[in-house]
Subunit: 416 residues, 2 copies
């Protein structure tokens, strides 16, 4: 018999408890032994809960119980979560967390402690909610040299961008709807300004490339500047605007993580991922590309990932080293966004003759030795679908404006 | 240091060897120790191979080497693969296989032997090629009660169906193109008649529901009856024709596995998976649904999955029990295809007035207590998008034909 504890009885924590009792038989079968919910840590009182006996306000009560094999942290925030999990690991108790902020800030330290004390620190729920991505990335795809990861890692912004186009809404109106439906917080900054997606791409970058990436090192743009016109023009150009969290390995050995709205061509499955769904595309030398999609948030979807990790922690008696990464204090491995090489989506302030725009841009690019054939246009936007450096992108905008085609908005193009 | 051996030096086997030497440093890092290719078993001679020293024609040479920790079988076919892997397991050597025929026929026996001798039998590459699906299903999604799995599990047929629509081709012409491109065999039956997809859904069904499902118990239809008219009409009705391998849990406790062409509405991501890509949708009570997509075949994509399993076998010193299933000799848990409840795509032999068809069918269904609003039509086809029993579907066809609307082809509708 193995006991586990849940820290924090909010949405995710209560989902974990609910799921355990709902599917207990199946869960114990997968774990290979009987399991028991030992404790729920929460500062609030839940006298009417069917699990009232399990509640405690002190971590010490959990730590002194020698039957506790796994502690699942669902509190959020860096502290006290970090201190609590370090205390568990130091006693050889494996930990599981859904806390992306914690892993994005303290992942390397937690993983090092897990190794030192021969325990495990699992965090499948911290990226992509229900979507299995952490374990597939470092286990199933372990033989690959990963070249890039692209993802829709925030369901709220995906819902908003989707609604703008499907229901002809402004950003503000779509945000308001998302708030009414409970998808967005009253203070929506973490979602719409890209911070939530940033933490998640930090975790994936650290895991895929072996060295800790801090959120402060990552270029992060949100979707406040995206207009209905952008969404409609992208659709007309056979693509979609998505908030893409990405990381790619550059030729100079650095990695370039970023969170920004991108034009995603419809040939890429990511452009088809709608509503609150998340999707992660992993590019590797052996697999080419693989996609993982599902619900990126929500009570039971996130609980599914936490409970999967709890089962794994019960079964796994040795530290899983393949999910390790280091932190040597430097962020020199992270490239600046100015090193981004990408195609361009350009929306004009006013409609223009699409054929004229295409001809002009094609010639402009051909004269500079670039393939001018990769340009398409509609009346108020155009797409340059070939990789351009920052300086080339600036030159394109300057050339267009010198021709009196005023540029209202530009976005990089995600590779198909 | 851990040695591994590869059985069979065909496309997949040679891919495994190639990938190991390409990414050896990364692979050893993930495995946590040095690794070495000990042997390649093949009856042919490869005197010019850089690995000429590793070749052997006898399994015994491998079995007597006490340093061998893992044997990867990439030969295909049930025998001698089964006998070879049983010999390995009996000596406590973990085995890895890409062989879907073997697992679909002998999976339960191999898993039981692995358990008896405290070794592992991994088979990630047997379903979905590069796509991580086996490990995510039994580990990451372990806390879910799985209700259904739907998948495009054969890239060749997906390529053919795609080409028919995109390039206005007949089935025969698209098959010929697939053969020219090397996607289809000269004898294409295993792909186009659904047998390949059938083996894969047997493996997923056995894993998800815990009891062995044999290919002979599974209703299997291929795509030979699908015409360009079907593909075009499905597109007009906002969906796509896909060869879907599926399994769902019925209310009576049985499971219903099947391989058949289905109409997939565009709201479902599976309808957007094109070319030789595979996609698996897993439905569970906690996750709702998750999708896994990628290259379902090919040298390096399949080698990626095999090598991932080899790494796992090196790291994993205890039998992984969560991927276990039983075989008690009975197939009573498998329902007959007559128990299928699904919507209907109906193509007519000649064009008709779409509005008349809609009105007639809506009234017909409403009179029988079914929601008549779920009918849509184009000039040569219609869609009844509500779950109908086999007898209800028969009645619909009879009613249409009595009205002189001759039915050319019907397909079940996949749930969105």
């Amino acid at each position: 018999m193995k006991k586990f504890a849940v820290l924090g009885y909010g949405t995710v924590g209560s989902g974990v408890v609910e799921l355990f009792f709902k599917n207990r038989k199946k869960i114990e079968q997968k774990a290979g032994e009987k399991m028991e919910l030992g404790y729920i840590l929460d500062l609030r009182d839940f006298p009417d809960s069917p699990y009232a006996d399990c509640f405690t306000k002190s971590l010490d009560n959990i730590l002194v119980d020698e039957d506790i094999a796994v502690v699942a942290e669902c509190m959020g925030g860096v502290e006290p979560a970090f201190t609590y999990l370090m205390q568990c690991l130091e006693l050889g108790i494996s930990v599981v967390t859904s806390n992306k902020e914690l892993i994005a800030q303290k992942g390397a330290e937690l993983l090092a402690a897990a190794k030192t004390y021969n325990a495990n620190c699992f965090f499948e729920a911290s990226v992509g909610g229900a979507i299995p991505i952490i374990r597939p990335l470092h286990r199933c795809l372990a033989a690959n040299d990963i070249s890039a990861i692209y993802g829709i890692l925030n369901g709220t912004t995906n819902f908003i961008l989707n609604k703008m186009l499907s229901d002809d809404m402004s950003f503000d109106a779509a945000l308001k709807l998302a708030q009414e439906l409970g998808y967005a917080e009253r203070e929506p900054s973490a979602d719409v300004d890209g911070h939530d997606a940033c933490r998640k791409i930090c975790i994936l970058s650290s895991l895929a490339f072996g060295k800790h990436v801090y959120p402060s090192s990552v270029h992060t743009e949100g979707i406040r500047e995206i207009s209905l016109e952008d969404a409609a023009a992208a659709d007309a150009l056979d693509g979609a605007v998505k908030l893409i969290a990405s990381v790619r390995k550059l030729a100079n050995g650095k990695i370039l993580p970023a969170v920004m709205p991108m034009f995603v061509p419809h040939e890429n499955l990511i452009s088809r991922v709608d509503g609150v769904f998340n999707c992660v595309e992993v590019c590797g030398d052996a697999i080419d590309r693989a996609y993982f999609c599902g619900r990126g948030a929500g009570k039971l979807p996130t609980a599914s990932a936490v409970m999967g990790d709890i089962i794994e922690a019960v079964k796994q008696h040795e530290t899983v080293l393949s999910q390790d990464w280091i932190d040597d204090g430097s962020q020199d491995h992270v490239a600046d966004i100015s090193e981004l090489v990408a195609g361009m989506f350009i929306r004009f302030a006013e409609p223009h003759n699409a054929i004229e725009v295409c001809e002009y841009l094609s010639q402009f690019l051909a004269e500079r030795g670039r393939d001018g054939a990769q340009v398409s246009a509609v009346d108020n936007a155009c797409l340059v679908n070939l990789p351009l450096t920052e300086s080339e992108r600036t030159k394109v905008v300057t050339a267009l404006e010198e021709n009196d085609w005023k540029v209202a908005h530009t976005m990089p193009v995600m590779e198909a």
